[in-house]
């Protein structure tokens, strides 16, 4: 509890410090994207605490983006009104999807969400008159505060990371209180949880809708930040990428969402920066292969994510020193 509070303090301090360091627009933009991904991934981790995994988050991310963009662009709504409406629509869609899908056993639930992801992406391309088709939607209005249009990466840094910290705080409170205990009980044993009087289906659908709403909110922010959307960033690859982030961070700890998004982006940066130095002749082709191999390695060696992996290593080290100390005494 207090450790979480301390962690929030550190996070807030770091975030407050970053703009003061005057990073380049690229670093700011990168952090903004990490922030958006973190929001999606925190939702995914929240879902993970109930023992479920989704390969459809990119669809919710995309519905959020398209809805908010269309409301603001074509109907002239204020983005501040369009975004909550987009999130509400995502929640409704997630509820409709979740009701039948959550009855499925774990792997089959993943497949159902994957199916939803594919269908939504086809609709984005095919509903040309509405969505602009594969060429995408241009000129999405930016956010504005008190009449000032937010256009720089730094402006969005504040907006996106406020949202990300809020998302984290909400998730933490859920995980630490009644809902979290219920979800952990479900994760341990569904039958056991039901025997304890926990309404398993209700908790499941709630957390699924919430995780979709997280993705939808991130998508809405994305649309007003980048100001151009097309179906490509919301395809199956993106869902897979979100899942990888969540899994790398660890599906059992909400901080895993943040760390996963950060770690995968950092890895991407290192791979991009280092490989051309080591092998000057290869281009972007190697990245897919390297990602794949790293993903396999992480899943083999840290199946519960890097957060838990690091804790385990520390515990082992501590156990080692304790044993050594005991032997000396």
């Amino acid at each position: 509890m207090s450790r979480d509070l301390a962690a929030f303090g550190v996070l807030a301090a770091v975030l407050a410090l970053i703009p003061a360091l005057r990073p380049s627009a690229y670093v700011m933009a990168l952090l903004n994207i990490v922030g958006l991904y973190a929001i999606v991934t925190i939702g995914l981790v929240l879902l993970g605490t109930s023992g479920q995994v989704s390969l459809g988050q990119a669809a919710f991310y995309g519905i959020g983006a398209y809805t908010s963009a269309l409301l603001a662009r074509d109907l002239g709504w204020s983005p501040w009104l369009a975004m909550p409406c987009a999130v509400a629509l995502v929640a409704v869609v997630a509820y409709a999807v979740g009701l039948p899908a959550l009855r499925l056993a774990d792997v089959f639930f993943v497949l159902a969400t994957l199916g939803v992801g594919v269908i939504v992406n086809v609709l984005m391309v095919q509903l040309d008159p509405l969505t602009g088709g594969a060429s995408g939607l241009r000129d999405i209005p930016p956010l504005a505060i008190a009449g000032r249009r937010l256009t720089t990466d730094r402006d969005y840094f504040y907006v996106i990371w406020t949202a990300a910290v809020a998302a984290l705080a909400v998730a933490r409170n859920l995980a630490a209180h009644r809902t979290g205990r219920a979800l952990r009980a479900i994760l341990g044993s569904e039958v056991g949880a039901a025997a304890l009087g926990i309404d398993v289906p209700r908790y499941r659908i709630r957390v699924f809708v919430l995780s979709a709403a997280y993705a939808g909110a991130a998508g809405a922010l994305y649309a007003h930040y980048i100001r151009f959307i097309s179906p490509a960033p919301f395809a199956l690859y993106a869902s897979l990428f979100f899942l990888i982030m969540a899994v790398v961070g660890g599906l059992t700890n909400i901080w895993g969402g943040l760390l996963g998004a950060g770690a995968v982006t950092a890895l991407d940066q290192i791979v991009r920066a280092e490989i051309p130095r080591l092998f000057p002749r290869v281009g972007g082709e190697y990245q897919t292969a390297i990602y794949g191999i790293i993903l396999v390695l992480i899943m083999i060696f840290f199946p519960s994510g890097i957060v838990r992996g690091a804790l385990d290593v520390r515990r082992l080290l501590r156990a080692g020193t304790a044993a050594a100390g005991g032997a000396r005494a």
């Binding site: 627009a25 060429s135 995408g136 972007g284 060696f301």
Partner: protein
């Protein structure tokens, strides 16, 4: 036992990670104080990689050639290549990286239209010359101050295809298109230019890039009795369409898009490729051009150099990257490494010979190519020939 095994494997992984970390701090490349830096941002991987890969390989080729020639205007030159993975979000991030961290002078790239659209917004904001290699008409119509377009626009290709249909007396045609920005843009172009010629698009059938058989779409189109079949895609689906049409015993002319301007189409479509006509730049038929042709020497040199440096033949996509980069080089030679001056220079560039055609830029035409820069190519005996 199990514990130690897991522990050992984790230790091994930690070792790997540490090794990776040690490689991380790298010395900056020395002596680039006055280097001319150009960003080349292409979709080297992902769905558009068959376009992005030759674009990147062209950038590498030019880097080698320019370095060997002693740089640009007496300065060292550095073409920094980036891979967007065909993701518009990554494309935006990379153009920001190129401009704010790598301090490039100008940007060439944006393989697909969504990537280019996303990058164009930032190029406008940061006031950096951006030479797009995507063909979507809306990229530079209306003109945007810092955005230039290298390929023949889809609209131009559509106009050329219509020219062929009109010349052969076709009154109706069916349009099969890949449902992405390329195909949807082509559909708009064909509809726009068919009407004034009194031609009708009797049917339009979309398909997905991953489709493995297009017979269902083709029989739907056949039911409308079109005088010709027009296909707007790249291989493999472009070839599958041609094969399926001939397999069904349909004998009408097949017109395809400039998306099939590579060897793969002929190889995949086999006998069905015979007689297919498509609009294209002159690169494919460079050797058949008359001796006086303005582009001929350039095209032959580019094709020869590209094939010597890579394992495959040059194609028009790499050519777009070539045009963007050489146009920037020309600008740097004339006005020096200054973004605003380069932009002004390119905007008024006239008679610039590239692989895509002879560019005549103006403030309200940031593409600068005309209908005469495209030729109609027909596939004959497994090879390309100029259709009279």
């Amino acid at each position: 036992m199990r514990m130690t095994r897991r522990w050992m494997s984790r230790a091994a992984f930690a070792g790997l990670a540490a090794a990776a970390a040690m490689l991380a701090p790298a010395a900056p490349v020395a002596g680039q104080g006055a280097a001319v830096k150009i960003a080349a941002i292409f979709a080297v991987t992902g769905p558009a990689s068959s376009l992005g890969k030759p674009e990147q390989d062209t950038a590498r080729l030019l880097q080698t050639q320019w370095t060997a020639a002693g740089g640009l205007a007496g300065r060292p030159v550095q073409i920094i290549t980036y891979d967007t993975e065909t993701d518009p979000t990554k494309a935006v991030l990379l153009i920001k990286k190129a401009v704010t961290e790598d301090n490039v002078l100008a940007v060439v790239g944006g393989t697909t239209s969504p990537e280019s659209q996303a990058m164009a917004d930032y190029a406008m904001q940061a006031e950096v010359p951006f030479m797009s290699v995507a063909a979507s008409t809306t990229l530079t119509v209306p003109s945007r101050r810092w955005v230039f377009q290298m390929p023949q626009r889809n609209a131009l290709a559509a106009q050329k295809a219509i020219e062929y249909l009109a010349a052969t007396g076709v009154k109706t045609f069916a349009f099969l298109y890949r449902n992405d920005d390329f195909g949807q843009d082509g559909l708009v172009g064909m509809q726009t230019f068919a009407r004034p010629r009194g031609m009708a698009v009797v049917d339009a059938e979309p398909f997905a890039a991953t489709d493995t058989d297009l017979t269902a779409q083709i029989v739907r189109a056949r039911a409308k009795n079109p005088g010709a079949m027009v296909v707007w895609s790249t291989p493999p689906t472009a070839s599958i369409a041609a094969k399926n049409i001939r397999q069904l015993g349909m004998r009408m002319p097949i017109v395809e898009s400039h998306g099939i301007a590579n060897r793969a189409f002929i190889q995949l479509a086999g006998p069905a490729a015979e007689g297919v006509v498509f609009p294209s730049g002159r690169l494919l038929v460079a050797d058949q051009l008359p001796p006086g042709d303005a582009q001929k020497p350039l095209l032959q040199t580019y094709a020869r150099d590209f094939e010597a440096a890579n394992h495959y033949t040059a194609n028009t996509f790499g050519g777009h990257a070539f045009d963007g980069l050489t146009m920037l080089a020309d600008a740097v030679r004339h006005v020096g490494p200054d973004r605003a001056k380069i932009r002004d220079y390119v905007e008024h560039l006239r008679g610039f010979v590239g692989t895509g055609g002879v560019f005549n830029m103006s403030p309200d035409n940031h593409n600068g190519l005309a209908l005469s820069d495209m030729v109609l190519v027909v596939i004959k005996n497994g090879n390309w020939a100029i259709w009279k």
